[in-house]
C-alpha cells in the first residue's frame, strides 16, 4: 500500500498507508490526522482539505484543476503546489508522497 507522509505546520510528520484508489484526504481522515478536515467528503465544495504537495512530488500529482484552483485561490496559504487533497487519487506511483498541511485547518 502506498505510504503517504503528512506534515503539519509545526513540522511534525505523520505516516499512513493509504489504499490505491482512495484520496489523499481519505487517507488523512481514516488515520485521524489533524490538519485535513474534508468536510464535504470529497465533493470539491469546502476546501477544508487543502494541502501543499512537496516539490519533488508535484509532477506526479499534477497541478490543481481549474475548479480546484478557484477554491484554493482564496486561501491565504495558497502556494503554487497547492491541491485539494480530496482530488488527489492515490496510485502506486504516489508511494512515498509527502504533503504539507496549512495552519488554518487546525
Amino acid at each position: 500500500m502506498p505510504l503517504i507522509t503528512y506534515i503539519d505546520h509545526k513540522g511534525n510528520a505523520f505516516e499512513a498507508d493509504v489504499p490505491v484508489g482512495d484520496s489523499v484526504m481519505q487517507g488523512a481522515v481514516d488515520n485521524m490526522i489533524d490538519g485535513i478536515i474534508g468536510q464535504c467528503g470529497g465533493a470539491c465544495a469546502c476546501a477544508t482539505c487543502h494541502c501543499i504537495v512537496e516539490d519533488a512530488w508535484f509532477e506526479k500529482t499534477g497541478p490543481a484543476s481549474d475548479e480546484e484552483k478557484l477554491m484554493l485561490e482564496m486561501s491565504s496559504e495558497m502556494q503554487d503546489n497547492s491541491r485539494l487533497s480530496c482530488q488527489i487519487e492515490v496510485t502506486d506511483d504516489l508511494d512515498g508522497l509527502v504533503v504539507h498541511m496549512p495552519q488554518s485547518q487546525y
Binding site: 465544495a45 476546501a47 478557484l70 477554491m71 482564496m74 486561501s75
Partner: protein, 412 residues
C-alpha cells in the same frame, strides 16, 4: 472520566462519525458504544442524490471512515438496533428487547426522517423517498432509460435527483406545491434561475400542483393532482422535507421545539450529561442571535467537535457560519450564511443568461448570506466576510467588474 466510563451515542451517521473521532482526540479514554438502527457504518448521505444513483459509487465508497478505523478507536457498534427510550434516573438507554445499557455521557445523534405523503395509493410500488442507502438502492432498481419519473417536491434533494434521472435518460416532471422551487432556501430570482436551468435540460417543473392520489395496479402508473392534472410515472420520488427525531428526548423530559434544545456547547441545559448533535439539535447562534436547527453535514460535524469537548469536560463553543452545497448538472451551488431573513438582495454576474452568478443578501445593511452558482471564489470570500463580520456595500459586491482579488482587498 476513567477507562470504565461509557459514552453512548444514539444514531450512526455524520454526527456520530465525527463525534467518535473527536471524543478520542479530546481524550475520552472510556468506552464508546454506538447504537444505530441502520445496517451500515456511517456513510456520506449527500452523494445519494448526486453521484450514487447513477452507479458512480459503491456502498464502500460512501463510508465516511473505514471499518478498521473504528476498531482502532475501540468503538463498539450495535447496528440494526433501535433505542426505545432513555431512563435519565438510572442513566441508561432501553432497547427494543427490553435490554438496558448504562451510560455516563449520552449523545443524541438521531438526525431526521422524511415527511411522508399520506394520500390514496401511496403504498404502490415504484414510490420512493430518499434518505438512506436502502432508499437509494430501491430507487436504483426502478430507474429505466426512456421511462417516466415524477419528483414531488422542489427542494435540493428533489432537484438533484431530477437532474440525475434526466441524465440517465428518463423523462422527468417535478411537482411543486408552492409558487416556485427552492422556496424555503432561496430568493425568487435564484428560484427562477433553477427553473430555467432544469427546463433547458429538458425537465418540466410544475408549480402549484398538489398531488392528490397515485394510480396504478400494483405498480404506480400516474400521479393525480388536486388541479385534476395527471402525470404518468414509472417511478415517483417524494422529497417534501424532514422531521427531526426528537421523540426520545421529549419522552425523557428534555426541552424540545422542532429540535432538541441545546446550549452553545451542544448540551441540554436540563441534563448536562446529554448532548444533541446534527439534524436533531437546535442550538443558539451567536451570529444570527436566535435558535437554529440546520440540516447539513458541516453543521453535524462541527457540532460534534464541540459536543465531544463537552463530554470530556472541556469547553469548545459551537459558533460557525452555516454553509451548504448542491450539485445539479454542471452547476455547483454553494451557499454561505442564512438567507431566510433579509431585506435586500443584489446580484453579481448575469443571472438571466449565464450559469455563473452570486446572490448577496443583506439585513439592515449587514451581509447575512450569499448563494454562489459556479462561483467558488466568491463563496470562500463570503464565508470569510460572514465569519469576520465584514460588510462591503451592496454596490461593491454587485459589481462584477471588480475582480474577486479586489473584493478581497476590501476586506483585508
Amino acid at each position: 472520566m476513567n477507562s470504565d466510563s461509557i459514552a453512548v451515542i444514539i444514531g450512526g451517521s455524520h454526527a456520530a462519525s465525527q463525534l467518535i473521532a473527536s471524543l478520542r482526540q479530546e481524550g475520552w479514554i472510556g468506552r464508546i458504544l454506538v447504537i444505530s438502527d441502520e445496517k451500515q457504518l456511517p456513510y456520506h448521505r449527500p452523494p445519494l442524490s448526486k453521484t450514487y444513483l447513477s452507479g458512480e459509487k459503491t456502498p464502500e465508497n460512501l463510508l465516511i471512515r473505514k471499518p478498521a478505523v473504528y476498531e482502532k478507536l475501540n468503538v463498539k457498534w450495535l447496528l440494526e438496533t433501535h433505542v426505545e427510550s432513555i431512563d435519565r434516573a438510572t442513566k441508561s438507554v432501553v432497547l427494543g428487547n427490553g435490554e438496558r445499557l448504562k451510560y455516563d455521557k449520552l449523545a443524541l445523534c438521531t438526525g431526521a426522517r422524511v415527511k411522508k405523503l399520506a394520500i390514496a395509493g401511496s403504498n404502490l410500488s415504484g414510490i420512493h423517498y430518499l434518505r438512506n442507502l436502502s432508499d437509494a438502492e430501491a430507487i436504483k432498481k426502478d430507474i429505466k432509460h426512456g421511462g417516466r419519473a415524477v419528483i414531488i417536491g422542489g427542494g435540493y434533494i428533489g432537484l438533484e435527483t431530477a437532474a440525475l434521472l434526466r441524465k440517465m435518460g428518463m423523462a422527468v416532471d417535478v411537482l411543486v406545491h408552492s409558487s416556485r422551487v427552492l422556496r424555503r432556501v432561496t430568493a425568487g430570482p435564484v428560484s427562477d434561475f433553477f427553473t430555467r436551468l432544469h427546463s433547458q435540460e429538458g425537465i418540466q417543473i410544475h408549480t402549484r400542483e398538489k398531488p392528490d392520489s397515485f394510480e396504478g395496479d400494483k405498480q404506480v402508473e400516474s400521479v393525480i393532482c388536486a388541479s385534476g392534472k395527471r402525470f404518468l410515472a414509472d417511478l415517483v420520488i417524494i422529497g417534501i422535507g424532514v422531521t427531526p427525531n426528537t421523540e426520545l428526548a421529549e419522552a425523557c423530559g428534555l426541552p424540545v421545539d422542532d429540535g432538541i434544545i441545546v446550549d452553545e456547547f451542544c448540551a441540554s441545559e436540563e441534563d448536562r450529561d446529554i448532548v444533541a448533535v446534527g439534524d436533531c439539535a437546535k442550538h443558539p447562534s451567536s451570529i444570527y442571535n436566535r435558535f437554529l436547527r440546520l440540516e447539513s453535514v458541516p453543521n453535524a460535524s462541527e457540532q460534534a467537535m464541540s459536543a465531544a469537548a463537552t463530554m470530556c469536560g472541556k469547553i469548545k463553543p459551537y459558533a460557525v457560519v452555516p454553509w451548504f452545497w448542491s450539485d445539479q448538472y454542471d452547476i455547483k451551488l454553494q451557499m454561505a450564511g442564512l438567507n431566510d431573513d433579509y431585506d435586500q438582495m443584489v446580484i453579481r454576474g448575469d443571472i438571466d443568461n449565464s450559469r455563473s452568478f452570486v446572490a448577496w443578501y443583506f439585513l439592515n445593511g449587514k451581509l447575512v448570506a450569499a448563494d454562489c452558482v459556479n462561483r467558488p471564489q466568491e463563496f470562500r470570500l463570503a464565508q470569510q466576510m460572514l465569519k469576520n463580520g465584514i460588510n462591503p456595500s451592496p454596490e461593491e459586491l454587485a459589481d462584477d467588474n471588480l475582480g474577486v482579488k479586489q473584493l478581497l482587498e476590501l476586506i483585508e
